[in-house]
Amino acid sequence: MPFFAYVGLFLLLPTGIVLWGAIRDPAGHGFKLSSLKLLGGSTVRGFFISSVELAAITSIVGALLGAVLAYAVASGNPQGTIRRVYLSGSGVLAQFGGVTLAFAFLAAIGPTSGYLMHAGWFYDFPQGIGLIYIYFQIPLMVLVFLPAIDGMKIQWREATENLGGSTLQFWRYVGGPLLAPAFLGCTLLLFANALSAYATIQAWDNQIAYVVPQQISTAITSEVGLASPNEAQVLALGMVVMVAIIMTGYALLQRRTARWLR
């Protein structure tokens, strides 16, 4: 089948090159794991720590705010205009990371040119870039979390009230535990999303590399001619491993969610 040839050539082969390159002996033939020692180096560790920090902050804040918005959307009229606007808007905005988003924030709160305010912290890591990331994390959360909230049955609420439970008790003992796996799963998805984002942060500040994707790009297209594909491959391997672990957790939590909410 041509499909398998295509996927093999443009998906599996590049992945194989990354993996093989990361464990290969850069000097000669055969393979040894010495390249992987790069991952333990203090500079590289710094990039991974920054990446995780940024992804953790933006995924947790984005998930909390996105969940509130998703609840507000879900509790309204299912055929209403607000729901339609917010759903299709979320679909667009969740994709709208990238260069233009960074420029929009530059126009709004740039340190010297901002229209709304001159934010001195615009170029600070992680607050400045974190705010920009949250802009696309919230819509993504709405998109992935809304099905879980929609799946909550009104009978659960009724049953709680019939047994004399308050709103607080409903969320504490019924709604909260039911939604918890979905919420955690969606947070993991947002985490992976922030981890692999590159365009936004590169357009935000192209002078300094903060996170792993930026360092990868420096390593393969170094403008001073010191490109080191081996370093890029090792960093890329590190990212694949992290994202794979997170996405596995996401898949497991989704399966757990599906047990109650369908």
Binding site: P2, F3, Y6, V7, F10, L11, L13, T15, I17, L65, V68, A72, A74, S75, G76, P78, I82, Y86, G89, V92, L93, Q95, F96, G97, G98, V99, T100, L101, F103, A104, F105, A107, A108, I109, S113, Y115, Y135, I138, P139, K153, I154, E158, T167, A192, L195, S196, Y198, Q202, A203, N206, P213, I216, S217, I220, T221, P229, Q233, M239, V243, A244
Partner: protein
């Protein structure tokens, strides 16, 4: 459907006893205040940066004045128009790959070789766990090796873009396949003497047309916003040309007008595609 339940619930509780109803009404009122507060705050958060960008692009030489100078300068950037053209062509090519390669494959698997569908699902969703920045590390040697012999234009990016679009297209197409009864359709067509080619292209595809269009919309959206692969393979598309302008030009106005134009352009294009899809869906 649980989503319609609140209204039904509200209607059912109307004749209930007075104290209970007032409690419910109070809860509903508080919920509504909460909802509109949330919608307003989030709406502002989402709209203000976009509004600021548009306003900035319309600013004249003096602060606070209005001018379209930054917008008229867009055409004077020859690279920019070229980049837009390339990006559009890439979107068409990538959609073509999805339509010619992925659509028939998924239908064929659904009809004839279901046992392989788990493996194909894994393959199609795999790009989700391989960020574009990682994929490009593996693609660069392949492109470089080919480029050593023949020069490749930026249009050759579509090979990689089809892979990036694969998970989104896959989900849209599978949802479409799940919504129709492929087994009955194909058996009916087969018993009337249709070959497999006819079954796929003249029976199943027309029935899942909205899903195919949906896949195309997602694919186009992805291509219009793609930056990472193009930048690192040293090609110029719309997003990378905006990035270069931001690095090279001191004139901030042009940057914002081109960004706003690019965004507007993407919005309009996606709107047209989804409207076209809706009309077909209603027919």
């Amino acid at each position: 459907m649980a989503a319609v339940a609140p209204q039904a619930f509200e209607a059912l509780t109307q004749p209930a006893t007075v104290p209970r109803r007032s409690m419910r009404a109070g809860r509903r009122r508080r919920l509504n205040i909460f909802r509109y507060l949330v919608f307003t705050l989030f709406g502002l958060f989402f709209l203000l940066p976009l509004a600021a960008m548009v306003r900035f692009s319309l600013e004249g030489t003096k602060a606070g004045s209005w001018s379209v100078a930054a917008w008229t300068q867009i055409v004077s950037y020859p690279n920019l128009l070229g980049a837009i053209e390339i990006t559009l062509e890439l979107a068409v090519l990538t959609c073509a790959v999805i339509g010619v390669l992925v659509v028939p494959t998924l239908i064929w698997i659904r009809l004839r070789v279901r046992w392989i569908s788990r493996a194909v699902e894994f393959l199609c969703l795999l790009p989700l766990t391989i960020p574009a920045i990682v994929l490009v590390v593996g693609l660069a040697p392949i492109y470089n090796r080919i480029r050593a012999h023949i020069s490749l234009s930026a249009l050759q990016l579509f090979w990689a873009y089809a892979i990036l679009a694969l998970p989104y297209a896959y989900r849209a197409l599978i949802a479409g396949l799940d919504a129709i009864d492929t087994k009955t359709l194909s058996e009916a067509a087969r018993s009337l003497g249709a070959g497999w080619f006819t079954v796929i292209w003249r029976v199943v595809v027309p029935n899942m047309w909205p899903a195919i269009l949906n896949a195309m919309i997602l694919t186009s959206a992805l291509v219009l916003g793609e930056f990472t692969v193009a930048l690192l393979l040293l090609y110029t598309n719309l997003q990378t040309s905006l990035y270069y302008i931001s690095r090279e030009t001191a004139n901030a106005g042009v940057l914002f007008s081109t960004s706003a134009a690019a965004l507007l352009f993407a919005f309009v294009l996606l709107m047209i595609l989804s409207l076209a899809g809706r009309r077909r869906g209603h027919r």
